[in-house]
């Protein structure tokens, strides 16, 4: 039972952040969209850039805060080699930009709005994520 306690608490914190984002700033808490908006071509400027950057800095502060509170940042070591990290990151970047969202924007926020696009996106990335792990771990 206790193995589900922290994931549930973490999920509730993520949700609290997403609801605050909507209540205060009127936006979807989609990480790929917030981060992508800082990149070329046409990166955000001025106050819009500062707001997005502040959110990203806050994201980096999360594990630090957990480390201060508990002595453990919760950051685990990568499990794959550097080339696989680079390929994986590139596909995540292409995929979330093309599909307009990731685990937060489509997953948490989109499903909560009962968005049909987000439902399709989540079903698709869960399926290909599971299929990829299956191929890598059980077929090779």
């Amino acid at each position: 039972m206790s193995q589900f306690l922290l994931p549930t608490l973490g999920g509730a914190l993520i949700a609290f952040s997403a609801v605050l984002m909507m209540a205060m700033l009127g936006r979807i808490a989609g990480i790929s969209g917030i981060f992508g908006g800082l990149l070329p071509p046409a990166p955000a400027t001025g106050g819009e850039a500062a707001l997005r950057l502040a959110f990203v800095v806050g994201l980096l502060g999360g594990p630090l805060l957990l480390g201060l509170l508990t002595g453990d940042t919760g950051i685990g070591a990568p499990t794959v080699d550097l080339p696989m990290m680079i390929v994986g990151g590139f596909l995540v970047g292409i995929g979330t930009a093309l599909g307009s969202g990731c685990t937060s924007g489509h997953g948490i926020c989109g499903l909560s709005r009962l968005s049909p696009r987000s439902l399709v996106a989540v079903a698709t990335f869960m399926a290909t994520g599971v299929a990829t792990v299956f191929v890598v771990r059980h077929l090779f």
Binding site: L6, P7, L9, G10, G11, A12, I14, A15, F16, S17, V19, L20, M22, M24, L25, R27, I28, I31, S32, F35, G36, L39, A42, A50, L51, A54, F55, V56, G58, L59, G62, P63, L66, G76, P78, T79, M85, I86, G88, G89, F90, V92, G93, I94, G95, T96, A97, G99, S100, T103, C109, L111, R117, A121, F125, G129, V130, T132, V133, H138
Partner: protein
């Protein structure tokens, strides 16, 4: 300034949630995606709790006239299922399954300073730029 400080605090809570949940541990994420192996179902509770609490919170917030520090709610309105959505989500899932990082945990994990994570985030940004350039050309 209030908007920027608010965004910082909201990001901090999000990052704390990711770290508490275990999403910043790629071994745990890959264990969750490994249905055929020694499956670790615990991360399903992140999505479950996240969606339930957000669903209720959105109901309360969106019944108000608008956000506190902005003019209006910016809610996506598209409902069509197009090839970009499906192909993009499919590629994202493959990348997620290869390395165990989705965008939020990748950014949060940057704070460790580990070179492989820096490389993954740089590569992710490059992928986003490629698509943004192509989309901008229409």
């Amino acid at each position: 300034m209030a908007r920027i400080l608010t965004a910082l605090v909201i990001g901090l809570i999000f990052g704390l949630g990711l770290a508490v949940a275990g999403m910043t541990d790629p071994a745990k994420v890959l264990g969750f995606l490994d249905l055929a192996g020694d499956w670790d179902p615990s991360l399903a509770f992140v999505m479950g709790a996240g969606v339930i609490v957000t669903f209720i919170g959105y109901k309360l917030v969106l019944s108000r006239s608008g956000p506190v520090l902005a003019g209006a709610f910016q809610i996506p309105t598209r409902r069509d299922i197009d090839l970009n959505l499906v192909a993009g989500a499919a590629l994202f899932g493959i990348g997620w399954g290869l390395a165990g990082y989705c965008p939020g945990p990748a950014l949060s994990s940057l704070v460790s300073g580990a070179l492989p994570v820096v490389a993954l985030v740089a590569s992710m940004a490059a992928g986003m730029v490629v698509v943004r350039v192509i989309k901008a050309r229409g």
